[in-house]
Amino acid sequence: MSDSRNTPIFSCHDVHVSVEGKEIVKGVDLEVGAGEKHALMGPNGSGKSTLAAALMGHPGLEVTGRIELAGEDISELEADERARLGLFLGFQYPVAVPGVTVASFLRAAMSARQGRDVPVKEFRLKMQAAFEALGVPRDFAGRYLNDGFSGGEKKRLEIMQMALLEPRMALLDETDSGLDIDALKIVSAGVNEATGSETGVLMVTHYQRILDYIKPDVVHVFMDGRIVRTGGPELAHELEERGYDWLADTTTASAGG
């Protein structure tokens, strides 16, 4: 703990994740500095969502390894404790909670994150500003959470939540998929707005497209439960041109890290 500038906002070391005894994430190390944006790209089924859920603290996953947020070991914490410390997960498939309105949910979440009962008036103002910024119609406040929302609407709401919860580290799992280009621009602007120089971002994505709007500092290629290569933004372009196959051979080679 010599110099706080050297402490990454988020890191994980040797994270393994199994589901029902089957290992899906096979040893992942990451370090994300404050204000840094990392992209994690990889083929379908390689374990990206499993990794993101494990980092968030999904209770149904068997996880080993060490996870730190702003220098604090959060490996043993429940998901809600991690969230209150400032970790955020934007879901690939946001879950519907029928009967719970967006507004009551957002207020409960904001109150939990801030550790105080956010007054109704203050909450309404913030919510409306966030709705506006992300082009979400106002009547969403009274609708049931993610219930009957289109894919794009759900993704906007995820980023809106991120904006309201002001995380220190955001894990964004395919926030870009299912968005048309206009929505993508709005959502990307929302991400850029909400994540200034203090916040770390890990964007999980299949596509180069979003990286034109949210510029990554670091790109990781994730295959078969491991990060097989790490590079700068140019790596994303290379993936776009060449696909993932050329990296398949290196999977075992770089496994040791």
Binding site: V95, V100, R113
Partner: protein, 431 residues
Amino acid sequence: MANTATDGTSAALDSRRPLLATEDVAAFSRTLGEAPMGAQWRQRAAEVAATIDYPDRVRHLWKYTDPGRLAPQRSLLQVPQEVAPFDLPDTPAVLIQPGRAPQPNAAAIASGIEVRALLHQDADVEWIGRAVPADHGYFEAMNAAAFNAGVLVRIPRRHVAEAPLRLVMAAEAGRDVLPRVLVIAEESSQATVVEDHTGGGDGAVVIGVTELLAGDNADLHHVLVQRWQDGTVGHLTHRAEVSRDGKYLGAIAGFGGDVAKADLGGILAGPGARSEMIGVTLPDRRQRLDHHTLHRHTSGHTWSNIDFKAAVSGRARSAYTGLLRIEANAPSSEAYQENRNLLLSERAHADTIPELEILTDEVSCSHGATAAPIDPEQIFYLQSRGIPADRALRLVVRGFVEPTLQQVPGGLRAELEELVEERLARLEGSA
């Protein structure tokens, strides 16, 4: 038997058949100061009771509850010396206790609704037993002959009662209470009656019957809140008979007691009649809560809907049986029914049996039943936003019942929501 202290006059009961001799019933009626016709009515009910067999568990309505656990434990037909004190709110309210005349507060007296002891006028026998006759079943016959906490509520013709009238139905530990409520909503009247079953404790037994008569064009709302304390057991039977163009809304919050069975129903007896029932039950720990609903269409051009939800936790069991019956002379009727069950723990259990009996054509009916465990991904999603798991669970359950509560008008909805919140606070320890 050392466990039940009995004196010379109160012979210990055979738990399978209460002693309801007609002369004892008549004497009891006199003790309560009832009208002569009232005594006769009870005597006839006692005769009926003697002919009805104890409920048999092979009969499907009794499949899920052991009737033996609901049997009164002490001598019936007695007036207790003392009853526990109960506080009434400032809003219109009536305290209903065994062996006592109904005690309305000032607001109830000022409400314009008639409230008095049942069977204290000869004319009462024209109404009592219409929706729930003595031969309805074993417990109903027992109640008819031996009820000890009766109240008549009459909403006069065209009277619009602004505030709900609350009937505080006080159960007591170690005592059998047989409440009987008769609500007569006269033509074009509007009122809300809240029947709040409260109190109880170890050894408390409640065998209740409620008859609700919604007259022509009347609009009657009825809320049944059952929040007995642990240790209480009971059986409640409700029937609303809805006349031409009448509207009935019945809301049920079935929460309390160790073992409780409720038989709830609406009879659509005149063209244009509508009945809507919503129910929420949240059994937890080792509770056994059993609800039966019936909508019987005896007239054409009638409409009914039932939405019943159960969220079951701990090792509790919920049973729901729902019957829609459209009689042969009731064409152009619509009847809908839905029962959804949410299981909050692995040992929680829910039975759900929807039934349709349609004896005519040209009807529109649907029924549905589901039972599913709570989705852990919902809990994780809420947790990922900083909401602790127990709070997340309560939110999901609250969301599960919310669309049902939404069907209840404003003031009542707020009351039901509060009751649900209060109840959900208990979930914390039982997850």
